[in-house]
């Protein structure tokens, strides 16, 4: 009996998560287009539905009804699997994310590890897609994506270890619990033994931009150099899945930053403030969407970096800083805590 | 850059081919602008093709200061002279003088380092044997200009590193700026 309820619960969670991921990814496209429009003094989509709100559905219908073209000479199995690999791990990660104190599909003790394990599959999909396309631009793009991901995964993990050190847990809920309270308790400020908090936060944010291949680090799909990069040869829903996967990854990254640095579902105000002071899922979502907006704004503001300056940034600035940060925090935790 | 020097050297170069009457160039220098401009008067008898030599022409009217005509095998040395003076190559082009059965290759040089000074060097070659040495060794930029001239006139620039069609399709077999080109 328990098992049956568990299964039903599990299925419900699964449906909810896939729905959440899909809707977020689809509407992020709308936010991006609408946002880009207004940033550039245009209106963005406005014809399909009020304020163009039905545009993502129209786009989806169009992508799904398009013919799936498999160019001659591609490595067919790899070519087909790559877009799936872009989307599926992204959905899987949502399983471990705690949106509020109780709203989590699977509360896993090693949640952080699970996230990084699945997130690292993403680069594999880019590599597979680029390689299988048998297109020179796609291959260059795949090579870029791999070197970029390798370079940025190191500081990303080192900084995560710092947070784990000060929080004392790999469980995402525990990490949020350790930041309980108003905003000065959160990890982005020099609290809880991590006195380089703000720098860690900014560096983590940069790494997350690079890991999700977002501008200004979108070297893999630098359209003025590599046309569309690894998905040059993809059309129809193959492209659609890459696209959705990219946006799902943005949601995940933002959610992760909210959990690690911005106090998860806790309100930024002290609890004595009426109404605004209470914690809840809305605070989580608000923080997450603000971060996403920042990502969108960055994309439409900056030019793209080159590969060498991207790698320089990682090896010369981020990795030394994050290692120093880790040592300092470890020392502080050891001597103070 | 010393203008007088360049003029002197070019003059010497142009008169090299015809050493027997060095005064002719000097005479042409004064007489030629009128001769050119008074072309109408001589309409009955088409003017003789110009002899090699240097002319200092009216800049305000013609847009160039010095106009040199040299023999085909002297263009490289002419290019070296203007190169040594620090001038730049603006263009290479051709003119088809079909009535004289000759093609003319025209090199436009300009000085970009200060006061304006424009030199045009020209050389005439027979139409049916249109060969002229390349000046890409002196001015790398001549590469494309010469290829373009080859496209339009079929002039063979001897020693050119890559004399292929530049603007026209690589498989075309005509040279559109020749006056006997009748469309394709």
């Amino acid at each position: 009996m328990d098992l049956g309820i568990n299964v039903i619960e599990m299925l419900l969670y699964l449906v909810a998560i896939i729905g959440f991921a899909a809707i977020n990814a689809a509407y992020l496209v709308w936010v991006e287009r609408k946002g880009a429009g207004h940033i550039q003094r245009r209106t963005g989509p406005k014809e399909v539905g009020p304020y163009g709100l039905l545009q993502p559905l129209a786009d989806g219908a169009k992508l799904m009804s398009k013919q799936l073209i498999i160019p001659a000479g591609v490595d067919k199995p790899l070519f087909m699997v790559a877009p799936l690999l872009a989307m599926v791990p992204a959905v899987m990660i949502f399983v471990t994310i705690p949106f509020s104190e109780n709203l989590v599909a699977r509360d896993i003790n090693i949640g952080l590890l699970v996230i990084f394990a699945f997130a690292s599959v993403n680069v594999l999909s880019l590599l597979m897609g680029g390689w299988a396309s048998r297109n020179k631009y796609a291959v260059i793009s795949a090579a870029r994506a791999v070197s970029q991901n390798v370079a940025y995964e190191i500081p990303l993990l080192v900084m995560t270890i710092t947070i784990v050190l000060v929080s004392g847990s790999l469980n995402l809920r525990e990490i949020v619990f350790s930041q309980a309270g108003a905003f000065w308790h959160w990890n982005w400020l020099p609290t809880n033994g991590n006195f380089l908090g703000p720098i860690t936060f900014i560096m983590f944010f940069i790494c997350y931009l690079a890991e999700t291949n977002r501008a200004p680090f979108d070297l893999g799909e630098a359209e003025s150099e590599l046309i569309a990069g690894f998905h040059t040869e993809y059309g129809s829903m193959g492209f659609g899945l890459f696209f959705m996967g990219e946006y799902a990854n943005i949601v995940i990254g933002s959610a992760l930053i909210v959990i690690l640095f911005l106090g998860g579902w806790y309100s930024p105000f002290p609890e004595v403030v009426p109404f605004l002071g209470s914690a809840g899922v809305w605070w989580f979502l608000l923080k997450m969407y603000l971060l996403i907006w920042l990502v969108v704004l960055i994309r439409w503001t900056f030019p793209r970096v080159t590969l060498w300056s991207l790698l320089n940034l990682s090896w010369k600035i981020l990795i030394p800083f994050s290692l120093f940060n880790l040592l300092a925090s470890a020392g502080l935790v050891k001597f103070l805590g | 850059m010393n203008k007088a020097n360049v003029i002197q050297e070019l003059k010497a170069l142009a008169s090299e081919g015809m050493p027997e009457e060095p005064e002719v160039a000097a005479v042409a220098e004064e007489a030629a602008p009128e001769a050119e401009e008074g072309g109408k008067a001589k309409k009955a008898a088409p003017p003789e093709p110009r002899k090699n030599g240097l002319l200092e022409v009216d800049y305000a009217r013609r847009g160039v200061h010095v106009d040199v005509q040299v023999a085909a095998d002297q263009v490289v040395r002419a290019a070296e002279i203007v190169d040594a003076a620090g001038m730049t190559l603006e263009a290479v082009t051709g003119v088809d003088w079909i009535n004289d059965k000759e093609l003319e290759v025209v090199y436009d040089y300009a000085y970009t380092g200060g006061e304006c000074f424009r030199v045009v060097v020209r050389a005439r070659i027979p139409r049916d044997e249109a060969n002229i040495p390349t000046i890409t060794e002196v001015f790398a930029g001549a590469n494309w200009h010469e290829r373009e001239t080859f496209d339009f006139f079929g002039i063979n620039f001897e020693g050119h590193p890559q004399l292929e069609y530049l603007l026209l399709p690589e498989d075309c077999d005509f040279h559109p700026l020749l006056k006997d080109f009748k469309g394709c």
Binding site: G35, G37, F302 | -
Partner: protein, 146 residues
Amino acid sequence: MAGYFTNILSGTKSLLVGLSITQKEFFKKPVTLQYPWESLEMTPRYRGHIQLIKDPETGSHKCISCGMCQRGCPSNCITIHSEKQEGVKGKVLVKYELDFTKCSLCGQCIENCKPSAIEFSKEYNLASTRKEDFHYDLLKRLKEQK
């Protein structure tokens, strides 16, 4: 070493300035025009394809079929058909053909026209999938305007 840190700081500052600019622009009103729903008035000098001017006195055109427009046209897009008619002095225009696909709107025909019989129209909403749609008979067009 000091340069290393000041570089990072000044770089970060330039990025933040950039972000604040785009964020400010975000709140401004769009400057675009929603074309099918709104459209601009063409300026008086706008050059659409040429048309015959209607003479308010006679209600007809002023063309004397001299053919100067046709001769001056760089792209040979004007063809004039005229004929001798009894009782009328000079030739009478029967058809003013304009091949607008070749026209470059240089205005030489209008300058060449002694009786000032042609002018630029303000037509700009022209689109078609067939090029025959741009072969106009300006005389017919003038009559239809009546």
